[in-house]
């Protein structure tokens, strides 16, 4: 469901996790008329009905809303020192 690049794996394995905090792939909707969904990689507390994906020794949360958009479109989590974590998978659609 979620691919993680080697660079992202290395960075995630070096992080000391605080209580209850885990990484999350999160669909972020912006727009108004034409809506864009882009995926954020954030670190936060659990939400109700989260699904937890285990990939390369890393646990990543996804909420029910995000999960539906990821089905059939697995994202890739990448990391670079310049851009930080990035989720490669963007959707744009027009709701007008």
């Amino acid at each position: 469901m979620i691919h993680i690049t080697k660079e992202a794996q290395q960075k995630l394995s070096s992080i000391e996790w605080q209580d209850g905090v885990l990484p999350r792939v999160d669909a972020n909707v912006t727009g108004g008329c034409g809506l864009t969904i882009n995926y954020l990689f954030i670190f936060d507390q659990a939400r109700k009905n989260d699904t937890i994906y285990h990939s390369h020794g890393v646990s990543i949360r996804v909420d029910p809303f995000t999960k539906r958009y990821l089905e059939g479109n697995p994202p890739t989590v990448d990391y670079s020192d310049t851009d930080g974590f990035q989720v490669i998978n963007e959707v744009e659609f027009d709701s007008c």
Partner: protein
């Protein structure tokens, strides 16, 4: 009657017709003798073949799938989806209006020109401007027209000002219109109260500022109470103040953009003045200006010469014509009818009721949804779905669930500075029963998010088409009917 929910191509039967044509009494021609071969079809067009009754039922079924204010509640924020009185339609269809031609000599269409002239005067009074053009055919075209007037005004003064300031809560058309008019846009942040950050504005206004575009009340439904000081800051730097009239439904007869210090105004007749709205038009976005900008208005202008109404093309500083003929006349006739049937007191009541309705709904919903600006609003208000987001449900799901209750959802995810935003504009034309029913539905959805979120996540359940796969539609759009074998 399931057939009538199919495409007309799917109910087509070879050889079936809806009309019998008489035998041709002219000799047939060979197409390839008259047209280049590469322009001729190689395969039949496969046009649908249906009976007259099938055709009528098909398009009647399609029309029933439309949703508009005549069907139900439509609280689309900043869009002012209010009821269109049917008397407007009667007036627009009067033969003296509907059967005239734009090229008729002015002396043969004096009634139509009188309507246009008086509408200009009425809109000037409502907006506090000195003159109005009715030419622009939509709000965005009104914005562009207003900005071209500003550009030409500055150039006439020997200045090439390049920047237009736009608040971060502005409609997306504002920066788009500024870009099309050849300006660079500078964003002004909102402060913690959702209003223009005056200090940030002061830092960004300079001698290169052509105009500040402002919506008041803004897209959060909040009145920019510092508007007089904002106007002073912009004017002191030599800039102009542009009023985006999208939210004018909150101020009719209460105040005017002119009193606030604006120099240029566009009004959306299809929002504030009840002309039909949605579906791509036609609309109308008249522009009003203060007296020093009158020479730059589009031509031709309608003027009164004694007892006669005339076209005036002779304005050398005009930005020129921005619309063929003179605007969307039928729409202008509808707006004129609305203004004249309501009268000044009626228009004032419109705004008072619109504001009352918005505040009533806001109070009913603010304990169930996050209210980021919990204060008196004008004609619309915003809620945030941030509380529901923590439970795994998003504003988009709430909007889709509202379809099950028979409502058009509010504007969502706009303005951009509110997380998981719902922007709700009930308008003045709804009853308390409708507002209560909508509030009850919103509260039920909030409860469902806590108790049974799947019912919200799986919505809509009652529509002809259920939850669409937007991702697939975006990535692999099917834009053409293909006959199944």
């Amino acid at each position: 009657m399931a057939d009538y929910h199919q495409l007309i191509f799917e109910i087509s039967q070879s050889g079936r017709t809806g009309a019998d044509l008489p035998e041709s009494d002219v000799d047939p021609i060979e197409l390839d003798e008259k047209f280049p071969k590469h322009l001729l079809r190689e395969t039949p067009a496969e046009l649908p073949e249906v009976s007259e009754l099938q055709l009528v039922r098909h398009y009647t079924a399609l029309s029933h799938k439309n949703y508009g204010v005549d069907n139900g509640f439509y609280p689309l924020g900043s869009c002012t989806m209010k009821y269109n009185p049917k008397i407007n339609e009667d007036v627009a269809r009067l033969e003296g209006f509907s059967r005239i031609h734009p090229y008729q000599p002015a002396e043969t269409v004096q009634g139509a020109l009188q309507l246009l002239y008086e509408l200009q005067e009425d809109l000037a009074a409502i907006s506090g401007m000195d003159a109005v053009t009715l030419q622009p055919s939509a709000g965005a075209q009104g914005e562009w027209t207003g900005l071209m007037i500003a550009k030409n005004y500055h150039q006439q003064n020997g200045e090439n000002r390049s920047k237009v300031l736009v608040p971060d809560s502005a409609h997306g058309t504002n920066p788009a219109s500024a870009a099309v008019a050849g300006f660079d846009t500078v964003t002004i942040p909102s402060n913690e109260n959702g209003l223009v950050d005056l200090e940030a504005l002061k830092k960004r206004v300079d001698q290169d500022t052509a105009a500040l575009m402002l919506t008041n009340p803004n897209t959060l439904g909040l009145f920019e109470k510092d508007i007089v000081e904002i106007a002073e800051v912009v004017h002191e730097a030599g800039g102009l103040l542009y009023y985006d009239g999208a939210n004018a439904n909150a101020i009719l007869g209460k105040t005017t953009p002119g009193k606030m210090g604006f120099d240029i105004v566009h009004l959306n007749l299809h929002k504030t003045f009840t002309t039909p709205h949605g579906g791509g038009g036609p609309g109308a976005g008249p522009v009003g200006v203060t007296k020093e900008l009158i020479p730059f208005l589009p031509v031709p202008r309608i003027e009164k010469d004694g007892d006669n109404y005339i076209w005036n093309d002779d304005e050398p500083l005009s930005i020129g014509r921005v619309k063929g003929y003179y605007g969307n006349f039928g729409i202008l006739a509808r707006a004129y009818t609305y203004i004249r049937t309501m009268g000044p007191e009626g228009l004032r009541q419109v705004s008072e009721s619109a504001v009352l309705h918005a505040n009533y709904l806001r109070k009913r919903l603010e304990t169930h949804y996050e209210s980021p600006y919990a204060q008196f609003c004008k004609h619309e208000f915003v809620l945030s779905g941030s509380k529901q987001k923590k439970l795994g449900v998003r504003t988009m799901n709430i909007a889709k669930r509202l379809l099950d209750f028979g409502y058009h959802p509010p504007t969502i995810y706009f303005p951009l500075n509110v997380e998981e935003c719902l922007m709700i504009e009930p308008t003045e034309t709804e009853t308390k029963e409708t507002l209560d029913a909508f509030a009850d539905s919103m509260i039920q959805i909030a409860n469902e998010v806590e108790e049974d979120p799947d019912i919200v996540l799986d919505a809509p359940h009652t529509t002809v088409v259920g939850r669409l796969d937007e991702t697939k539609a975006a990535r692999k759009p099917v834009l053409r009917y293909t006959k199944s074998v």
